[in-house]
């Protein structure tokens, strides 16, 4: 069920993507995507690198043209409405670098002039993204997190109805990432802006967005709210274990574990999904004891979006 169906007021979606395809010389980046996003909705496009997230977002941004299919922004197509749509959209591209030798204030002032915003708005934005102390610093001297906050600030200059952020926190440390999240959560409370955010961090998708679209190889694999996505599997739990002697594991690979195990060869870690952890975990431990194996580490946790992705594709989001 699409979340949109539950929204009764303002039924027309802010963004509508219908059967969109896009190919480049050697790759089919997007292979038939449909999407509808309502006013004020925060949506995450979650998927590994190369899933087609950026291509999809750039088509919504009007930077790329779909080979097939239609995209409507506020009910309008890009062709012929560029100026109007540019005024309602705020965006940040993956890794834009601004003019090195302009200060934060000057950069915002320049972009503000494109939207006919004045210096007051520039000051407001500097406050919103927390760059007060850096307003006179050259862009080239900003840290990665500060640059991303500047990019976000530029995206917010025009009070956009639609915000499109392409991997806004990739490559940032956890603190810098949280700073971006808190800016976006404040924005979410105001409920005036719809957001599409691409990410390969499941925490980011879960923290910020009520609706998540999992995308891989140019297609939507699954979509829904976090609860919808994870509850379908009836509260599965994941146990992860590391054995004392890794050689033993390698030697004993031929032993048939009575469970379906996902081996992470790099980290020498095994993981099993249990639907009834209370009864299945003792069985697992008994089996380990019978095989005279020793456990070095054992963890039990709830199922995550990453696990969901792995169960559908056999790969992890970060691979």
């Amino acid at each position: 069920m699409n979340l949109l169906d539950m929204v009764t007021t303002d039924a027309r979606p802010v963004i509508e993507v219908q059967g969109v395809y896009k190919s480049f010389k050697t790759v089919q980046a997007v292979k038939g995507v449909d999407m509808r996003i309502a006013k004020g909705q925060f949506v995450a496009l979650l998927g590994p690198n190369g899933a087609g997230k950026t291509t999809l977002v750039e088509m919504i941004e009007g930077i790329q043209k779909p080979d097939r299919g239609e995209i409507f922004i506020m009910g309008k197509k890009w062709k012929g409405n560029e100026d109007e749509l540019h005024r309602v959209i705020g965006l940040s591209l993956q890794e834009t670098r601004f003019i090195d030798k302009l200060t934060v204030w000057e950069t915002l002032r320049l972009f503000a002039s494109f939207y006919q915003r004045d210096q007051k708005r520039v000051s407001e934005i500097i406050e919103i993204v927390g760059l007060e102390e850096k307003r006179k610093s050259y862009v080239v001297n900003l840290s990665g997190g500060q640059r991303q906050r500047l990019a976000l600030g530029i995206a917010l200059l025009n009070n956009p109805k639609i915000l499109l952020l392409d991997e806004p926190t990739t490559g940032l440390d956890p603190n810098a990432r949280r700073e971006i999240w808190s800016i976006l959560l404040t924005l979410k409370q105001q409920a005036q802006t719809s957001l599409i955010l691409t990410t390969h961090y499941m925490e980011e998708a879960e923290q910020l967005c009520e609706y998540i679209i999992i995308i891989d190889k140019g297609k939507i694999l699954k979509e829904g709210t976090v609860t919808q996505l994870l509850n379908e599997d009836q509260g599965e739990k994941i146990i992860e274990f590391v054995l004392e002697d890794t050689h033993q594991v390698q030697d004993n690979r031929h032993i048939n574990f009575p469970f379906q195990i996902h081996w992470d060869a790099k980290n020498e870690k095994g993981s099993i999904a249990f639907t009834q952890v209370e009864s299945e975990l003792p069985q697992f431990l008994n089996f380990i004891k019978e095989q005279k194996l020793r456990i070095k580490n054992l963890e039990c946790r709830r199922k995550t979006l990453d696990d969901l992705f792995t169960s559908m594709t056999g790969r992890r989001l970060h691979e």
């Binding site: 930077i63 790329q64 834009t96 601004f98 003019i99 030798k101 320049l110 494109f114 006919q116």
Partner: protein, 381 residues
């Protein structure tokens, strides 16, 4: 209202680009100091005449000369009586020095090196000397490449000394009157050329490279995802470039005015017209060159492909009239030639609007043509 908004946008773009340009320390060096240093170096090198050195090989016939009467050799007589003998260093043969003093044409020093024919040929091939002299039956023979103007000059000067019965250590040259009218010196020729070259270089490197870099950084893509007017972006680049070129040219002129007494003999508004037209031409070319590529190395190649041929052909450092006759009409239509000749004609020939109108028109047309076709194929994403 709309107009005011767009003016604000354009103003902010110009301001941002101007700050970006002047905050780069390299701009000050390459745009201002380097052309001044170049004019200083070349100006001094070509205005103060140093002694000209001419190397000549004298073929040694040890056997014959010893057998016959050595005093009958004219070359030997000249070397022994008028030249200074220099003791040989290492395995080099005996050398003689003879200097002709000349206040008007500059001093010329001849070095005569005694050597075998084979050795002389080796030295000739290496470019160490250009004339070989020998003596047969009391006649001096001169061996040199008739196509080499330097060798010809050496021959003329040398034969004048050798054929004269009496050797004068100084030339009087009473019939030579050096020109001191302003505008006829090499530096007068050079400075307008340097100004023209500066405009070309700064447009192509400053604008093209800047645009390509912004495309690589995805900044162009980000900027056109706003309601920014695309033409404003390019106009801002051009305006800043013209302002910078004006400052750079003015400083070079002021320097040349004080150091080399360069003056502008023609019409100053006409000079502005040709200057502006040159800027439009090269800004247009710069936008055309940078319209497509996102790779700074390809950009480098493209810029060099435009800049280098014109540097060589357009008569910046030396007159293009030395090129073959058939090529001159083409060379004269090159943008850099049009601009350099135009500026030069105002500086040293006293030209006005009439003389530069064709070049101004052609340069403006070139600029508009390249700008509009560049804009058509311009890749913003």
């Amino acid at each position: 209202m709309n107009k005011v908004i767009h003016q604000e946008q354009l103003f902010q773009l110009i301001l941002a680009h101007f700050k970006e340009t002047i905050r780069e320390p390299g701009v000050i060096f390459w745009g201002i100091i380097f052309p001044i240093l170049m004019s200083l170096g070349l100006g001094i090198a070509f205005t103060k005449k140093a002694d000209v050195v001419r190397n000549v090989a004298v073929i040694e016939h040890t056997f014959i000369i010893q057998a016959s009467n050595p005093s009958s050799s004219r070359i030997e007589t000249f070397l022994n009586n008028y030249s200074t003998k220099i003791e040989p260093i290492g395995d080099e043969g005996i050398c003689y020095r003879f200097t002709v003093k000349d206040e008007k044409l500059g001093n010329t020093t001849f070095f005569f090196r005694k050597t075998s024919w084979q050795k002389a040929m080796v030295l000739l091939k290496r470019g160490n000397l250009s004339v070989v002299i020998d003596e047969k039956n009391s006649q001096i023979e001169y061996h040199f490449d008739p196509l080499n103007p330097d060798a010809q000059l050496t021959y003329l000067k040398l034969s004048k000394i050798m054929e004269r019965s009496e050797v004068l250590p100084a030339e009087r040259n009473e019939n030579i009157e050096p020109l001191t009218v302003s505008g006829t010196r090499y530096i007068d020729f050079l400075i307008p050329g340097l100004i023209a070259m500066g405009i070309m270089m700064s447009c192509l490197w400053g604008m093209s490279y800047g645009i390509i870099e912004k495309r690589t950084k995805k900044l162009l893509r980000r900027m056109v995802a706003t309601p920014m007017k695309k033409s404003h972006f390019l106009i801002a680049l051009m305006v800043v470039r013209i302002i910078m070129n004006f400052i750079e040219s003015a400083l070079l002129f002021i320097f040349a005015y004080f150091v080399f007494d360069i003056t502008i003999q023609g019409n100053i508004p006409a000079l502005f017209a040709i200057f502006l037209a040159g800027n439009i031409a090269f800004a247009g070319i710069a936008i055309f060159i940078s319209s497509h590529t996102a790779n700074t190395e390809i950009g480098n190649g493209l810029i060099n492909a435009v800049v280098l041929p014109m540097m060589v052909l357009s008569g910046i450092f030396f007159s293009y009239h030395n090129f073959p006759d058939w090529s001159i009409p083409y060379i004269q239509k090159l943008p850099l030639t049009l601009l350099a000749d135009g500026i030069r004609s105002v500086f040293i020939e006293g030209a006005g609007y009439a003389e530069i109108s064709f070049a101004t028109f052609l340069l403006t047309a070139i600029g508009i043509l390249f700008f509009s076709s560049g804009l058509k194929i311009f890749k913003w994403h």
